[in-house]
Subunit: 337 residues, 2 copies
């Protein structure tokens, strides 16, 4: 299976590039700063290992795109490292902003070393990510490197826009269903669209091909998030036995919840009364389903999946990597609900 | 007087460029995000105005350098905006990390809008700063723009190194006098050295000239901080009447304090016993002076000032701007102590 083989080829190269990028934080008296980053990336500290590292979906998607667009994936490694580091930078700050004590089964940075050091470690990672990207100039023109740098910075701005909306939404009772999309666009889809666009740019693909790949990654990101929201309420973990995993408990303004609120029915009336308890979860999940939220969310996911696959088709991905990209999209979008 | 005239020419152009850079944060539903940044930069909100804006020393220094190195200062405006925005980004996060409620006579961002929004606004400013810099490519080559981008990112990494040390030092009782320099290098001198280096790079100055300007800005930054530390204990505000302004009260590990601790005399013994109160300030300031801290700090400031002026001489600054650079250095380094 080409996807699995390519992933096994990419992963060690991605880890090596990430190590190279993080090594720039080393220096006299800088051991703890470096350790904080190595801990967050899953390399050091308690429970270090693959589980703590996450799946490296973003760099894999980027490298597959470079190869599928006819480029040499090894030339794209600086960009692959950069997107993974940007993702991790945003997680460090999000965990502080959301007051989350746990990430990938381990205490978060702020929980272990305090908010001041965690904010600062995130800032260091932000710089290291963009520095990593500039290593592209070893194999691509100064103009292409500049273009990628501009794109990644714009994407970081998008991330902060999405996070700004997410934080604002916590305090707002007047949200419409439409409020969902700019938030998810900034928080998830923008970076995935940038992964595929960067991959195509490094391959020096033509502008329409770059756009098609960008649209593919972007729609993939939206579809993935919508499915995640579906699983967050009706997935096995959320529904059977482990209601503690349900998005209904955390008060997350996910797509099904915003749909339910827009109906202004029984679900919305209960939501307005304050935090939901674990024993209410099964009943409210089926109430939300009866009000049409499950069907609506499923339909959105299907539409976005179709959009993603059509964009990928337009990009005309080549060879093994092209096949692998299609498999990856199907794999990400066919999770059981 | 050429300095004053040039500053009056530069300031409106700097503000315009800053506005252009911050406008990229605008968008549907983004009013508050934009307002937070405009507030922090002194343009909006209560007590907006020149006092709230700060002196814009960094962009002025950068533009003077471009002109003194024979370049067109208007071409350097994107870099001038970028260094001012990076400075302000670091202030937003530092204020959270130091738990400071007031900045330039006004409530800090986190105090007004909460820590989550303030961290995120800082991140937005970070992206906007680096995006601003990329506008250099309108007037300089892609290679020069890339070089400046690399330099500013490295400097941001240095800022986080300095801040990492500063936060670490709060908990350490075993600091040596030498611990001072890497912290101040990262927190203050690195960015000032980068201002002058960027200015010279935009002027397409030769490598040795760029280095001389970098050394000038760097030594100027160190000298400025050491003088600031001197004023923080023996300046008028700190000593006469307003002991509340004294660095002795805030527990800051400034150069005179680290000198005093390294002597292990009466001052060090008192410091080890816990926070100093306002009524102790005059006595402890003169005790520190008797132990040699004032003379030592003064000598450091003098040496660094001389180093800065020698580096500036090596750079052979030209014309009115060159004269103005020398005046600026003298002005910054001849504050009353």
């Amino acid at each position: 299976m080409p996807l699995e083989q390519l992933v096994q080829t990419f992963l060690p190269a991605i880890e090596e590039e990430l190590h190279k990028a993080i090594a720039k934080a080393r220096g006299p008296d800088m051991d703890l700063l470096h350790h904080m980053l190595a801990y967050h990336l899953g390399w050091e500290g308690e429970k270090a290992g693959p589980e703590a590292r996450g799946k490296r979906i973003r760099p894999i998607l980027l490298l597959l795109t470079t190869a599928a667009a006819g480029g040499d994936w090894q030339n794209a490694l600086p960009a692959a490292a950069a997107v993974e580091l940007i993702h991790n930078f945003s997680l460090i700050h999000d965990d502080i902003e959301d007051n989350s004590p746990v990430r990938r089964g381990r205490p978060t940075l702020w929980k272990l070393w305090g908010v001041p050091q965690a904010i600062n470690a995130g800032d260091a990672l932000f710089s290291l990510a963009h520095l990593a990207l500039l290593d592209l100039s070893q194999h691509t023109s100064a103009n292409t490197t500049l273009k990628t740098s501009h794109l990644l910075l714009e994407t970081c701005l998008q991330l902060t826009r999405g996070q700004y909306l997410d934080i604002s939404y916590e305090l707002r009772g007047d949200l419409t269903l439409q409020a969902y999309w700019p938030m998810v666009n900034g928080k998830t889809a923008a970076l995935l669209g940038t992964c595929t666009e960067l991959g195509a740019l490094v391959a020096e693909a033509e502008a329409p091909v770059c756009s098609a790949y960008q649209e593919f990654g972007h729609a993939l990101g939206l579809a993935f998030q919508v499915l995640d929201d579906l699983l967050g309420i009706w997935g096995d973990a959320a529904l059977t036995g482990k209601s503690a995993e349900s998005d209904l408990l955390s008060g997350k303004k996910s797509l099904p919840v915003l749909f339910g609120l827009s109906r202004a029915g029984d679900f919305a009336a209960r939501w307005a009364q304050g935090p939901i308890t674990a024993d209410e979860v099964p009943f409210l999940a089926s109430q939300l389903e009866r009000e049409g939220a499950h069907a609506y969310t499923r339909e959105c996911a299907n539409d976005l999946t179709e959009e993603a696959l059509k964009a990928l088709e337009r990009a005309q991905p080549q060879g093994n990597a092209g096949e692998a990209l299609q498999l990856l999209a199907h794999k990400l979008l066919n999770r059981q609900v």
